[in-house]
Subunit: 369 residues, 2 copies
């Protein structure tokens, strides 16, 4: 079952970033092909691709799309075969125009990196991935051809490490899931949020693969309904029983004893364990504490930002009020009223029973760094 | 401003129940005219009219619609002029067919009462109103004409008392609202939920009328969005600043100190103060406690059910899963997944700082009965 959950969430094919357009799910499963930096940033901002690990992969490949857009002339192309082959061929890069200087190439990459990192400021993986790519073009490559090959290798490495991370994280997390478990989750942290089979939801997939019975309770996750649209779709596709609920029903559900644990993902984790995640996570953590249900965070170690001592320093993206005031083209609130629409909240470490990464499960007190 | 907030939420005109169809707001303001018991029950079940006090008024008038439907022949009609005139004329009842027996009339009323009360089992006001009407037809009327007149008088009395209740409740509650207040509310408890200007939201209207500055924060209230659609519409219409938020954002909002108090309505209150209200209320109460924000319940005393010792005995209506899985005709979750959709939750009395009725504000410990 696990391999079936590996979705083509974000891949680089023939110079284009291929994404599952997650805004169309569950009604339609469509792969979109992005050939410009602007299209990549639009897709990131509009959440056609989302989830911290998947954003890292999309951000890294997005830099290559920017180069392809600028100098692509049909005689060369970036093309990745990850995850189907271990290592992508770099032969297709040989036709890159000889007249392009290292200086111009690096300048384009610098500019593209700034643009991509600014698209969603809270998601540390986006910045982490473009920074990691920047160490390549600021490194010791001596020719544009070797630099392009190194950039493709590095982006593929980010992609491949994400797959490996999902497998390792899932195995560590599955040990915390009892048999016949009810697991409440928020937002989407499955194969659509990573290039593998997920973080928090990947823990569920790994537990099921290990032979445990798990029933997933998915918060629908307003305003963009990633839980109802994406988590429910992934579970249903994988044959895992899933029940969708509105956020307002979580307190009653938790009070009734059918939830064994809550598992959520993370967009950024501070050194003390304070965790930024999708808006609504903090509320679930407080409710879980009241009803004595363990609350776990599952995320790649790249999500940990040891430079931040606590959650108060995590920048919180405020998104467009129309995400709250409209749905599917229909006004849900009168024109002209205000809407409060932070994309994330910060759950204090004291509410988190364990933080699970690819390196294992850590219990409080948390001291990352 | 207060009188402007008195909406034609539920009125009996020329034998028909006239309702604002609340499912069409905020896009469209439309009055619908219901001339059959089936149409009245459909409107109640589909939440075209909702809110405990308004349901009581609609239920009482709905009984009269059932009689009009059965024996209406153009020669007589039920017609109410409340709230515009103090007492409705009963002259228009004179043409009621002489051949109809008291027995047949009472049998029709008994059957209509059972049908109406079963439409939404949690809402005690619906049952309360039809039971109160039943004391009339089980009383000492000697002619069908006098019984019909007594029934119209009683339904009008329920209507008029609801208007008076709103005014008294608002005045008691307004004393609890500081100046420059931020008030978080859930669902809709304004003029659309009553025949007056509201209970919990009526407290805000009364505070504004008393010269206080109030900013309303309205939980959108999934799945049916009564907060975004109705509360925001009423505030905006009344010139009161209002900000809509998804339920998931309430924890962060409460943590930031801009909310002075939470005020919600109630669908049923047990003798010990445990309160059933729209799903999501319990979560807000727990979050308010964590952040030290007082949580108030405002409801007519008819909402108190002293026969129930605590909240565990309150029946909770489970509603159609498609309310969660669809919105505005668009699937928000894959076909075939389950949805958990209780209409109400029960907030324990320990989380409630005061219960405000038309008789005043009561502090814990609560002992109604």
């Amino acid at each position: 079952m696990r391999e079936r959950m590996i979705l083509p969430t974000a891949r680089l094919q023939h110079g284009a970033l291929h994404l599952i357009d997650q805004t169309l799910l569950p009604a339609e499963y469509r792969i979109i092909e992005l050939t410009t930096l602007e299209a990549v940033c639009e897709a990131i901002y509009m959440l056609r691709v989302r989830g911290a690990p998947a954003l890292g992969v999309a951000g890294a490949y997005g830099l290559l799309v920017a180069v392809q857009e600028t100098w692509g002339d049909g005689s060369w192309e970036f093309h990745s075969t990850v995850p189907d082959d271990e290592i992508s061929s770099t032969e297709s890069l040989a036709g890159f125009p000889a007249g392009v200087s290292m200086h111009d190439l690096c300048a384009r990459l610098d500019q593209a990196a700034r643009t991509i990192a600014a698209t969603r400021p809270t998601a540390v993986n986006l910045k982490w991935a473009v920074d990691r790519m920047a160490t390549v073009w600021r490194g010791d490559a001596t020719t544009t051809h070797s630099l392009l090959a190194d950039l493709l290798d590095e982006a593929d490495a980010i992609h491949r490490e994400d797959l490996d991370m999902c497998r390792a994280l899932g195995a560590h997390g599955a040990a915390l899931i009892p048999d016949d478990a009810g697991v409440l989750t928020h937002c989407n942290t499955g194969g659509l949020a990573t290039s593998g089979y997920g973080t928090a939801l990947g823990v569920v997939f790994a537990a099921v693969e290990a032979g445990k019975q798990v029933h997933v309770f998915a918060d629908e996750t307003r305003p963009l309904l990633q839980g109802a649209r994406l988590t429910a779709w992934e579970c249903h596709r994988g044959g895992i029983p899933v029940t969708v609920l509105v956020e307002g029903a979580a307190a009653t559900l938790l009070s009734q004893g059918s939830v064994s644990c809550v598992i959520v993902g993370a967009d950024r984790i501070a050194a003390n364990g304070d965790t930024a995640n999708k808006i609504g996570t903090l509320g679930v953590a407080i409710l879980a504490q009241r009803y004595g249900v363990p609350f776990y965070v599952a995320a790649p170690s790249s999500t940990i930002d040891p430079a931040l001592s606590d959650g108060s320093a995590i920048p919180i993206e405020q998104r467009d009020a129309d995400e709250v005031r409209h749905f599917a083209g229909v006004a849900t609130a009168p024109d002209g009223v205000h809407a409060y629409n932070p994309a994330f909240d910060v759950t204090p470490a004291e509410l988190i029973a364990a933080i699970i990464t690819e390196n294992g499960a850590v219990r409080p007190p948390y001291r990352f760094g």
